[in-house]
């Protein structure tokens, strides 16, 4: 049944749009702000090859988590195509969706609120097995749980503990074990290391890499931590206010970001520097509201290299810098490269 199709990327996202509607409730109708549309994700396309690490980076509210959730249809996309092994998810029946859910899993952002406080770690990890009926007998399930706990470097005795008994790092490991239990091919890791101490975060990243080798996993990383992203990814997409402004190989983007926003973002990361002082680009103001995103280029309100009226009126063209490196900006490539 499992026929290996050659050269079909594992995940392809094409023109994905996810809007949220605010003000549909009765109170809004009475007090009348009317219907407002939050353009959380607005026309995003990218491809993730099997076995690779793809990262979505951006600041709070840029829509990166919404993309991750849309891909798994945890929120329903408004428009676009999501191809998993070449098939469009959005056309899947309920049955096909359930099958798909075995292949794609998510590790949620907040390990505490994503683990049910009334279930033991063992029950949490076993739940997907029960839902999907993967294992028939109770002792099989228990064996599997014990094995997974050890895979994520916890002890099998931890199965009887409740989430509050675990530290932040351990709680993430349980989230990872739950995602792994169905033997997926694809995992969305939403802010996996945020809020952890450096030494704990490093251990989690090492674990994720081991798991990738062991289970042949493909990861979509969602993060605002650029250090981590540089370290872990094969490709990076940088998002700003619902759109991808720059996408390409991790090395190209982290060594030589071209979009003015990417440049500011990378220059702003506080780093332990050895010797040379780098000039910081400090952006003014804050990210505008996605309810009324700026027209033209969405970054035009904060862009330090704004050209003029064209940035406010026209959608920026997608420029190809080679090797799959694309930038959405009105400034010509040569001029972008110069700085």
């Amino acid at each position: 049944m499992k026929k290996k199709r050659e050269r079909v990327p594992l995940v392809q996202v094409q023109g994905l749009k996810t809007y949220f509607y605010k003000g549909r409730g009765i109170l809004s109708k009475v007090f009348g702000k009317g219907l407002r549309i939050v353009h959380a994700v607005d026309d995003v396309s990218f491809t993730i090859e099997e076995g690779k690490n793809f990262s979505l980076v951006g600041e709070t509210g840029c829509g990166k988590s919404t993309v991750g959730r849309s891909i798994l249809r945890l929120v329903e996309p408004t428009n676009g195509k999501i191809l998993f092994e070449g098939q469009n998810l959005l056309e899947f029946s309920k049955r096909e969706m359930q099958k798909f859910r075995r292949k794609a899993q998510i590790v949620m952002q907040d390990p505490r609120s994503s683990l049910n406080p009334r279930m033991t770690a063992g029950e949490i990890i076993a739940e997907p097995l029960r839902i999907h009926g993967m294992k028939k007998y109770e002792d099989e399930i228990q064996d599997e749980v014990a094995r997974l706990l050890e895979t994520v470097r916890l002890s099998s005795e931890d199965a009887d503990k409740y989430p509050h008994e675990f530290s932040g790092g351990q709680a993430r490991r349980i989230g990872i074990a739950r995602a792994l239990v169905l033997r997926p091919q694809f995992i969305v890791a939403d802010e996996l290391t945020s809020g952890l101490d450096v030494s704990i975060a490093a251990a989690i990243l090492d674990l994720m890499q081991d798991l990738q080798d062991e289970f042949k996993l493909t990861y979509l990383w969602i993060s605002h931590d650029l250090h981590m992203v540089k370290y872990i990814s094969d490709s990076i997409a940088i998002m700003y206010l619902g759109k991808i402004v720059e996408i390409g190989r991790a090395q190209d983007i982290s060594d030589d970001p071209l979009h003015p926003y990417s440049q500011a973002l990378f220059s702003a990361i506080p780093t332990v520097k050895h010797g040379q002082e780098t000039k910081k680009i400090i952006l003014e103001g804050e990210v505008p509201s996605p309810i009324h995103p700026p027209s033209g280029c969405r970054f035009n309100t904060r862009c330090p290299r704004k050209l003029g009226a064209i940035c406010e009126t026209d959608e920026p063209p997608c420029q190809d810098a080679g090797d799959g490196h694309h930038i959405s900006c009105h400034i010509p490539l040569e001029a972008l490269r110069e700085v």
Binding site: S199, I200, D206, Q209, M228, D255, I269, P270, L283
Partner: protein, 330 residues
């Protein structure tokens, strides 16, 4: 520049918890010179915040300073009565910015009320509750302008929830600087913010510190931020300062195994494809701290002596101290 503004010596703080008494700070000594930024770095639970709170004498009820001295401009803060602490020290001489700005402000008052409260308490006590309101309001507006908030007069009448995270942190900075303090304790002021906003706040802090000539105790777990803002750095582990050095010295030539390990944990493009160095084990619980050097169960260079007695903080070079028995071996 070399005058000592604050000197903490042999400070020991104990917390009584359900599992017994634990030492959050164990014989901590440090000093802050006038006009310098001292970075205090360490993982969660190592005692950084406790140190900040002890200086303000704002420890929670279950925390107790059992030993030590905190000399600020020649006065031992631990001997000062509460009344003097409130009038002369807190907010006026020593200001504090805490990690979560949303929780630091009262949600049911406008920020004008809250800034004016501070000003009235410290600057304008004699005028009574209604005196010179306009003057104080103007001053509050001026402070907001100084921290880069547009339309300060308008924004003053807003409530905290109407500000974004970065903006509210600016308000906190404005409040902290409103009485021109000599020492600012900044406890993870940018941890909850996005990088571009973090960069803005750091820049703002740097410029205000320079303008007002304040000293700063900057507490953070982020080595990157610490390396950018501080002149000197103290590294804490499990209630002890394990290394204390000028910023460049610390990052170029870390002497303590813990500092070295922390720096190795930082992911970056250079490390791509390699495994990150991890520190085996975890920070010991407050009530279960090991004897001797507290880092010894996790230390790759551990020796017999490390298990027996705690190492002292010794100067190994000018401006560089380390608490380790085997630093030469590294």
């Amino acid at each position: 520049m070399n005058e000592r503004l604050l000197r903490v010596s042999d400070l020991t703080v104990e917390y009584s918890t359900r599992r017994g008494i634990g030492r959050a700070l164990d014989n901590v000594s440090l000093d802050i010179r006038e006009g310098e930024v001292l970075g205090l770095v360490g993982e969660s639970g190592c005692g950084k915040t406790t140190l900040g709170l002890s200086i303000m004498k704002l420890l929670p009820r279950f925390g107790k300073i059992v030993q030590g001295e905190i000399l600020f401009k020649g006065r031992n803060l631990l001997d000062l009565p509460e009344r003097i602490m409130n009038r002369e020290i807190r907010g006026r001489e020593i200001a504090m910015i805490i990690q979560d700005p949303m929780h630091a402000l009262n949600p049911v008052f406008t920020i004008r009320t809250q800034i004016v409260d501070v000003l009235r308490f410290h600057k304008d006590r004699r005028l009574g509750p209604h005196g010179k309101g306009i003057q104080l309001r103007n001053e509050a507006a001026k402070m907001l302008e100084e921290v880069g908030i547009a339309d300060p007069a308008e924004r003053l009448t807003d409530y905290p929830f109407q500000f974004s995270g970065g903006m509210i942190q600016r308000v906190m900075v404005a409040m902290a600087f409103s009485c021109n303090p000599s020492l600012l304790i900044a406890d993870e002021p940018t941890t909850a913010l996005d990088v571009t906003i973090e960069a803005q706040i750091l820049e703002l802090l740097k410029s205000l510190v320079k303008r007002y000539g304040a000293s700063v105790l900057y507490i953070s777990h982020d080595l990157g931020v610490i390396s950018e803002i501080s002149d000197r750095v103290a590294v804490m582990y499990a209630g002890n300062i394990v290394e204390y050095a000028d910023t460049t010295l610390l990052f170029e030539d870390p002497a303590h195994p813990y500092t070295e390990a922390l720096l190795r944990c930082l992911p970056g493009a250079e490390a791509r494809g390699k495994r990150l160095g991890t520190i085996p084990g975890r920070v010991p619980d407050l009530t279960e701290r090991p004897n001797g050097c507290k880092f010894h169960p996790r230390c790759p260079y551990v020796r017999e002596i490390c298990k027996e007695k705690p190492p002292k903080l010794l100067e190994i070079a000018s401006g560089h101290s380390v608490a380790c028995f085997g630093y030469k071996k590294i």
